[in-house]
């Protein structure tokens, strides 16, 4: 977050507002209502105090938007990470149609125990599930993001394909 200065303001009786100005000079904000509703707010260029666009989001919609905004960042950070750490790679492995783990929870593949590589995220139809737990159920067509050494990640690829 370091680069962006986010301002937080209390809205008595309603909730909280966070806003910041982008490098291009556009002000953006999020109003967090106590009811769980979230408003994505875009401010007017001519009248920087006025919200010219308010997008009302319920819990699920807010989650979906956060995923979309955050997911590419996760992969980006991983790439930076493995550039920094010698010998660490992150690969994206598909769960093929015939995979023995399609429809089974991730814990049953015992990936970390068998290969010492880690599954850090699963992408499914434009959604990204960051750090899935052992109870997460794979589906055919999922793309699994794995971090580990060259050898261990290729072992994971074999496990996911043949078991």
């Amino acid at each position: 977050m370091g680069q962006v200065e986010v301002e937080q303001t209390a809205l008595p009786g309603i909730g909280l507002r966070h806003d910041f100005t982008t490098r291009a000079g556009q002000r953006v904000g999020v109003v967090s209502h106590r009811t769980g509703r979230r408003d994505l707010v875009i401010y007017d260029k001519d009248d920087p105090d006025r919200a010219c666009q308010t997008v009302k989001l319920n819990d699920e919609e807010a989650d979906a938007l956060a995923e979309l905004l955050g997911a590419p960042r996760i992969v980006q950070r991983l790439n930076q990470l493995h550039q920094q750490v010698e010998g660490l790679v992150s690969v994206q492995l598909p769960i093929p149609d015939g995979s023995p783990y399609a429809g089974r929870p991730m814990g049953e593949a015992r990936v970390r125990t068998r290969t010492s590589a880690s599954i850090v995220a699963v992408a499914r139809g434009g959604q990204v599930f960051a750090s899935p737990g052992p109870e997460f159920v794979f589906r055919a067509g999922d793309v699994v993001v794995v971090v580990g050494s060259e050898d261990s990640t290729s072992e994971v690829a074999d496990i996911l394909a043949q078991g």
């Binding site: 303001t9 209390a10 809205l11 008595p12 009786g13 309603i14 507002r17 806003d19 904000g29 109003v31 106590r34 009811t35 408003d39 707010v41 401010y43 007017d44 001519d46 009248d47 920087p48 105090d49 006025r50 919200a51 308010t54």
Partner: protein, 386 residues
């Protein structure tokens, strides 16, 4: 006809009438409060269809309405917000108080109604309707605006001021001598401070007692506690409304949200009854003679609210357009102003006070939200040119 049958017929007709009026208000896009007042005028003394038997029942319902209104208002705030708005916004809050209490007080003094009526009228012109204003903000999509926190903190400040003001007003209205009046005011202030401290410090114990997973139990506990404290406050000359408000403040977090959701329909029903009751007590024949005066008063206090909003927003570093919006958002008057006038009328203040307050609130409850809607494009245009 049987007493109960007549009561049901009358009360049913009143509620149904209110429902129809509410639908009308929705269609036009104004607050239903002025229409409820008009309905009360029609049913009351000297009205078109005077009620025979249900007036007493409606008056109790009205009292309940005030308690529920204030309870739900208190539930909206948590103690931290109150403290921050008191410390961070004291100056703007005081400007708000001085500027907007002045029109009412000056008007009452000029009419020769005496100092007690002046204090009551000061309250009538001072308090912005937080209910109507909150609705205006969300209807016009102003909640995300950067001047909105300023507006909301002023509302919090006003509501807190009310908690001090109402007991002072009730003791003055009781017509006590200066010494016993001062003692009563002292007791009232101490009570309010004690309850506030208890709410801030021991709110969680109250919550632990009230909290229940079952909504029925929760409803009974919250309403029971609010009525109990309201009655106690009334006994101590602090005014029932303030007691209920303080109960609302003492409850916060998830419990307050649950309670609010449960109470909303109950509050809407009895608050509508309260506005009708105020209209019932006001003679429509008295409204016309004071209409011009009420319009003048409304105009003066619109200007003072615009100045207040501009001042508070400018202090928060908001631009010209936002300053104008902050002022406009503060214009609507409604619940509290009628509560204050109701107290004064009930205590036998000048007979014209109720009519003046009714006409005044009729104008500003209806016109405030409309003004905001109509002026919005102009403000945007001005901001674009600047």
């Amino acid at each position: 006809m049987h007493e109960t049958a007549i009561l049901f017929l009358e009360f049913g007709a009143v509620l149904l009438g209110l429902g129809v009026l509410g639908a009308l208000a929705l269609r036009v896009g104004i607050s239903p409060i002025p229409l409820y007042l008009i309905a009360g005028l029609a049913f009351g003394t000297g009205g078109v269809l005077p009620l025979a038997t249900s007036e007493e029942f409606i008056s109790v319902g009205a009292e309940l309405g005030v308690v529920l209104l204030l309870l739900t208002l208190g539930l909206e705030y948590n103690a931290d917000e109150l403290v921050t708005s008191l410390t961070g916004n004291a100056r703007a809050g005081l400007v708000d108080l001085v500027l907007n209490a002045a029109p009412g007080a000056i008007c009452a003094l000029l009419l020769g109604w005496g100092p007690v009526a002046a204090v009551a009228m000061a309250g009538v012109t001072y308090a912005t309707s937080s209910g109507i204003t909150a609705k205006v903000l969300s209807d016009l999509g102003w909640i995300g605006n950067r001047e909105t926190p300023t507006v909301l903190s002023l509302l919090v400040f006003e509501d807190l001021t009310m908690a001090i003001y109402l007991p002072v007003l009730t003791t003055m209205l009781a017509g006590l001598s200066l010494l016993s009046g001062a003692v009563a005011v002292g007791i009232a202030l101490v009570t309010v401070s004690v309850v506030l401290v208890v709410a801030l410090r021991f709110g969680r114990f109250i919550e632990a007692f009230v909290s229940s997973p079952n909504s029925e139990v929760l409803l009974l506990k919250v309403v029971g506690l609010a009525l109990l404290v309201a009655g106690l406050a009334q006994q101590l000359q602090v005014s029932a409304a303030v007691g209920a408000f303080l109960v609302g403040i003492a409850l916060s977090g998830e419990l307050a949200e649950d309670a609010q959701a449960l109470l909303a329909p109950l509050r809407d029903l009895f608050a509508a009854v309260f506005f009708v009751f105020f209209g019932l007590q006001t003679d429509p024949a008295k409204i016309l003679p004071v209409a011009g005066l009420a319009a003048l008063l409304a105009l003066a206090s619109m200007v003072t609210k615009l100045l207040t909003g501009a001042y508070a927003a400018r202090r928060a570093g908001i631009g010209k357009a936002g300053q104008a919006r902050a002022g406009i958002a503060l214009i609507p008057r409604g619940e509290f102003n009628i509560v204050i006038a109701g107290l004064a009328v009930g205590a036998g203040a000048h007979p014209d006070l109720g009519a003046l307050a009714a006409a005044y609130v009729l104008i500003l409850a209806a016109f405030g939200p409309l003004a905001a809607k109509l002026v919005q494009p102009f403000i945007t245009a001005i901001a674009k040119r600047a």
